[in-house]
Each structure stands twice: as C-alpha cells, then as structure tokens.
C-alpha cells in the first residue's frame, strides 16, 4: 500500500519561500494498491491528481473527512469530474440536517464556483457515512465520527497487509484534563489502534493549544500521546498551522524529539512524501 501526501497544511493554502519544505497545499492524500486508488480529502493538494490519467481507471473514490473549506476547496479542480461517464464516488460524513449533496453544492455552485454538481459530465455517486464499515475494491474501510466541529470522520483503511489511519482534523484532548487514558474513552481509538501508519492532526504547540481549545485541533504533544495510547507503529504529524514556517516546524520537531521518547517512529508530514507499507 502506497501513501502519497499531496497536501499537509492546515486551514488555508500557504505557499511561499517560508513554507517550501513542508508545503503549503491543504489536506489531500492518495492511497494506492493493486491498481486501485483512494483519494483522502480534497484540499488544494488534490491538484496532484491531475498528473494521473483518470480515464485509465474504472472508478475514482474520494473520501472526505469533513466539509471544512481546507478539505474540499480542490474539488472544483479535480480532473476526474470532467471525464464523461467516469464513475466518481464521494464518501462523506452524514449530518443530521442536510444531505451531503446539498452541503457539497454550497461550494460547487455560483457564486463560489461557476459549475454546479449537476453540470459535471462524470457519473457522480455520493455516499453518506458515519460510524460505518464498507469496502472499495479490495480496501476494507472503517469510518467513525471524531471530535472536531461539525460532522467529521476519520478513516481506517486496511489493504492487503497493512493498516493506514487518516485523521487530519481532530481534538481528542477536548475536556478538562485532556485525553482520558482509557481506550474506551478516546475519540477515534478504534480507527487508530495498532495502525501501521497514522496520519494525524498536530497543528499546535502546547502553548498555542491552550489558547485555542475547542478549535478542533491537537497539540503535537497530545498527538504523540494519542499515537502511543493507540499503539501505532508510525506517526505522521500533520495539518501544519499556516503560521508555522519551515524553520519553526524544524525547531518544534527538534524540541519534540528532545523531550518525548516513544517506542514508535514519528515525523512531520511533508508535502510530496511517499510511504510504502507492506
């Protein structure tokens, strides 16, 4: 199973000399194995898909964690939408009030975007999911609601031999004393437990988190704690704050390494990185 990080920035695309290394594109990750693909989130990183010839695939699947702008803003520029009759599936969290179609249409319609969903030439199929299990090709997928403002899910993707968990926006420590260190009481625990690779929110330093409780994101230190409680094998810290430059992220990571020794591998997610799981 191959994982390509196309966008690891949080909140807003942030391109510039200061963010060249970690990258400025927002959340989007490609998972591929045995000629089958899954695109996770449609942030501005999804533009990378345009180098893939979609017409050679029978179907393309996008799994949205939620509908915040930084996770859907690339949708309008997703080339498979414009391939006539290509089967394109969008999976996204259900809401107790509005359909996925109407929520996506808020963005894919004037004045925010010139083309409406109805006008897309592909064969678009929407799926509303919550605490669900489903299969796409040979991939077995589990989704579950996680703590983040508005309906938001994380995904656990099981391929031939490996498990990849993707929770880019998550605040598992929301509460008086942070994460409750009992697996039953940890948001998204079943998704992350024992994963070969966990891609997880780690937007803030501890100091920043204390000023932004309830905003839906995690501190790097709590992300490490979360990964260790879930006993993952490898952690990618992602959803980098748009205010954090490459230099700052490097310094933060050095500090983290100095103070937190865990028995699993962890690193900062970098735009363009590719990880091969067995």
């Amino acid at each position: 199973m191959k994982i390509n990080s196309w966008g690891v920035r949080g909140s807003i695309p942030t391109s510039g000399a200061d963010t060249k290394h970690y990258g400025g594109r927002t959340s989007s990750t490609l998972v591929s194995e045995d000629g089958e693909l899954l695109v996770l989130d449609a942030g501005s990183g999804i533009q990378e898909f345009n180098s893939i010839n979609a017409a050679t695939y029978k179907r393309v699947d996008i799994l949205l964690t939620h509908l915040h702008m930084d996770h859907i803003q690339g949708l309008g520029f997703f080339s498979p939408f414009f391939v006539p009759d290509l089967e394109v599936h969008i999976w996204g969290p259900l809401s107790s009030r509005n359909s996925l179609h109407s929520r996506i249409s808020r963005y894919l319609s004037p004045p925010l975007f010139p083309v409406t969903i109805r006008e897309l030439p592909c064969n678009l199929i929407l799926h509303e999911i919550g605490n669900s299990q489903f299969e796409i090709g040979h991939f077995k997928i589990q989704s579950a609601f996680v703590i983040h403002p508005g309906p938001t899910v994380g995904y656990r993707i099981t391929g031939n031999k490996s498990v990849f968990t993707y929770i880019p926006d998550h605040e598992p420590e929301l509460g008086r004393n942070g994460i409750i260190k009992d697996p039953k009481w940890i948001s998204g625990y079943d998704l992350a437990a024992g994963a070969d690779l966990l891609y997880h929110d780690g937007q803030y330093t501890t100091e920043e988190y204390n000023k932004k409780r309830g905003w839906g994101h995690t501190s790097m230190v709590d992300t490490l704690l979360y990964a260790s409680l879930a006993k993952v094998k490898h952690l990618l810290i992602a959803h980098h704050d748009p205010q954090h430059t490459d230099t700052q992220l490097n310094e933060m990571f050095i500090e983290l390494k100095k103070e937190h020794d865990y028995p699993f591998k962890y690193e900062m997610a970098v735009e363009g990185m590719e990880i091969n799981l067995p």
Binding site: S96, N131, F145, P151, I180, P183, K184
Partner: protein
Amino acid sequence: MPAYEIEIILNRQLADCLSIPVFITDTKGNLIFYNEPAEILLGKKYSETGEMKVEQWSTIYSQMDKDGNQIPPDELPLVRTIRDCTPNHKTFWIKSLQGNIEKISLTAYPIISRENKFLGAVAIFWKAKEDEN
C-alpha cells in the same frame, strides 16, 4: 470492547467540568460514568468502582414520594428516559444506605446521535427547593 461514541465521550468530558452531579448510563442503564459531585451523592469514587451494572448502582438509594412510599421504578425519570428515549424530570426523596433522606430533582435526557441512534442517557441531580414538586 470498542470505544464509546464521541457523543458519550463529550458528555463525560462536559460532566467532568460541572459542579452539579451527573450520571451517564448506557442504553441498558448500566452506569458508565459519574462525576465528582455525583461521587458525594453515591458515597463511592468512580476511580475505585469503575462502571457499575444497573443492579449494582440502582440499589444504593431508595426513591420515595412525599408520603414516604417507594416509587415504582417505571415512574423514575432515568428509567423512563432509557425506556422511551425522551427527556424526563421529577422531584422526589432519596434515602441512602446510611439512612440520609434528601429531596432532589432529577432531569434525565437521552443521548441520540447524529445517526439517530440511542446511545445512552444522562441524569443530572439537583437539590430541590422545599416548595418544588
């Protein structure tokens, strides 16, 4: 045992911040969490008891009406909330195992998820005012 849904987890995190006694049960009435103010009412500590089966915690108190008659379980707000998935409220008297009698009001509400699934119930205890029924 799989993790609880976030609706339950967030209710616990909220209860943990409140000064009023809060009890959280699963769909069968088993007590899965109670906060510090509730520990005083129960005379037990969550860190020591952990979760408690419905049979185990429902006998810690007896519930009575104003004339001292035992209230049938079916008329208790939390029992109704779990049975009907509706919010319920009632004022009554409780008698602890130590024999202390207190007039309390109890509000219970169901936790119904985004997926429209009944996940459990929350009961909030209030010390009732003397003139409250």
